[in-house]
Amino acid sequence: MSAPMFYVSPEQQVKDRAEFARAGIARGRSVIVQRYRDGILFVAENHSQSLHKVSEIYDRIGFAAVGRYNEFDNLRIAGIRHADIRGYAYDRRDVTGRMLANAYAQVLGTIFSAVTEKPYEVELAVAEVGRTAEQDQIFRLTFDGSIADERDFCVMGGAAEQISASLAETFTVASLPQALATAVRALAADPEQETAVGVEALEAAVLDRTRHQSRKFTRLSRAQLAAALEPVQPAPARSPRRRANRPSAAPDAAPVQHG
């Protein structure tokens, strides 16, 4: 009647699930979240202009993700709802990045250990811009609900290790154009990357503490990006099919699944 059940040790189960999630995330293109002089900068390699990997959650809180689009978009919406209802019931200042990161850690951890569920193939960053640079916070959340408090930057996606190593060498708390240039250069440390990432494949946003409105999140348009990167990097255009030979890449027919 039912399929025969075999014993699988918890260690093996966790290992298998982690491997599955990692493989999914490794197909995702990278995202950098880093501090700069006036707040927090998000830079993602993203060919879509409308399917965002970086998003606004609340007045001072931003969100970035890699992995399966439908999964992280669900988490993004849940985060916006969580923040909006908390701010409406109490006060806007009662919504914090730490609170949101904790809620995400709970959800991801629960899903990861639920045997009947497939683990989420996502990695998230929640960043909050403070009134002063010392109060800026970047949290990184992995598929199993682990949470890390990052000091200066965090890199997620397939080539996170290489990009992280490259960024660690060049990182300083710099002005926006400089920080952008550093981030874009670090993105090129991806071994799959033949040339620098062009403006047409970049998504960028900032949480800018100098912004007068209470909502500190702003997207940088491609024109703004080009202007900021102009003197530093001429950005040659790349062919859009450069990823086709990545070994673990999903078939081209379903490219939207992994942002």
Binding site: D73, A78, I80, R81, I85, V107, I111
Partner: protein, 282 residues
């Protein structure tokens, strides 16, 4: 409260997915998960409007650059002044403003909810609502208050903003049942609105720039306060002046108090010479 808005403990995404599929509206979402938080809702029983303070006059004018909205600062409870410096005009989002007359407690909460509603939609959808969409959303929220309105807790907003599509300022007025009507030129709500509208009829010019429109708005509020006991005039001793918001293509901004004070001082000075205000040509 913290995790209940996320996935259920089983990790089954069904509830979240269902929720995600059906609404970008904050109000609908709150009504489902925590209805007690909402200011609006049905109500039945005897009228109890004497319990709550009331906010009074709001005016709005379209200009060559967009739209200007202004409100007096008085809230009354019966014949008593409940508050001298209440704020009734707020930016609703970066390109619109809302002013509310009526039951003050509900009105202030409704504004708060409406602002979250607009921002919530924008964040989830990645694009703001159109100006008509915002106006309709507000109409639905007012309609939801009909039960309480019948008991005397009437809330009547005035909504105005910059319309990206037609590149001009537009004004929408409402009734207590949620009827939404677009106004041309200028409009006014609240107990002093009759007098303010009369003043604007004589003062308004469609080619006003923002500065001129601010002057006309302050004049109209002065006339409202002159003839309506529930509308507050400029309080020169305490330096309390109308709240004025201007919305143009570059966004909504509150006119700094110092600027409104200057305009008000001029209006008050001119009224010393001619108490009924500027003379219209026949």
């Amino acid at each position: 409260m913290s995790t209940s808005l996320f996935l259920p403990p089983s990790g089954r995404p069904s509830a979240l997915e269902r929720a995600a599929a059906d609404t970008s509206s904050f109000t609908e979402f709150v009504a489902r998960v925590q209805p007690a938080l909402l200011p609006v809702g049905g109500g039945s029983g005897p009228t109890a409007d004497a319990l709550a303070p009331r906010a009074t006059t709001i005016v709005a004018l379209t200009t060559a650059e967009g739209v200007v909205m202004a409100g007096d600062r008085r809230a009354t409870m019966g014949s008593m002044i409940a508050q001298r410096d209440i704020q009734k005009v707020y930016p609703a989002d970066e390109f619109s403003a809302i002013g509310i007359a009526g039951s003050a407690g509900l009105a202030v909460d409704l504004v708060k909810l409406f602002r979250v509603e607009l921002e919530h939609y924008e964040k989830i959808e990645g694009a703001p609502l159109t100006l008509d969409g915002k106006a309709n959303r507000l109409a639905a929220m007012i309609r939801g208050n009909l039960g309480l309105a019948l008991q005397g807790f009437v809330v009547v907003p005035l909504f105005a903003g910059w319309d990206e599509q037609s590149a001009r300022g537009r004004i929408f007025s409402y009734d207590a049942t949620g009827g939404c009507y677009e106004e041309t030129g200028f409009s006014s709500v609240g107990s002093g609105s009759v007098f303010a509208r009369g003043a604007l009829k004589k003062l308004y010019r469609p080619d006003f720039n923002t500065a001129k429109a601010v002057q006309a708005a302050v004049q109209a509020l002065f006339d409202a306060a002159d003839d309506d006991s529930a509308t507050g005039g400029p309080d020169l001793a305490r330096r309390i002046f109308p709240v004025v918001i201007a919305v143009t293509a570059s966004g909504a901004r509150q006119i700094p108090e110092a600027e409104v004070a200057k305009v008000t001082d001029k209006v008050v000075a001119s009224r010393q010479r001619r108490p009924d205000g500027p003379e219209a040509k026949l």
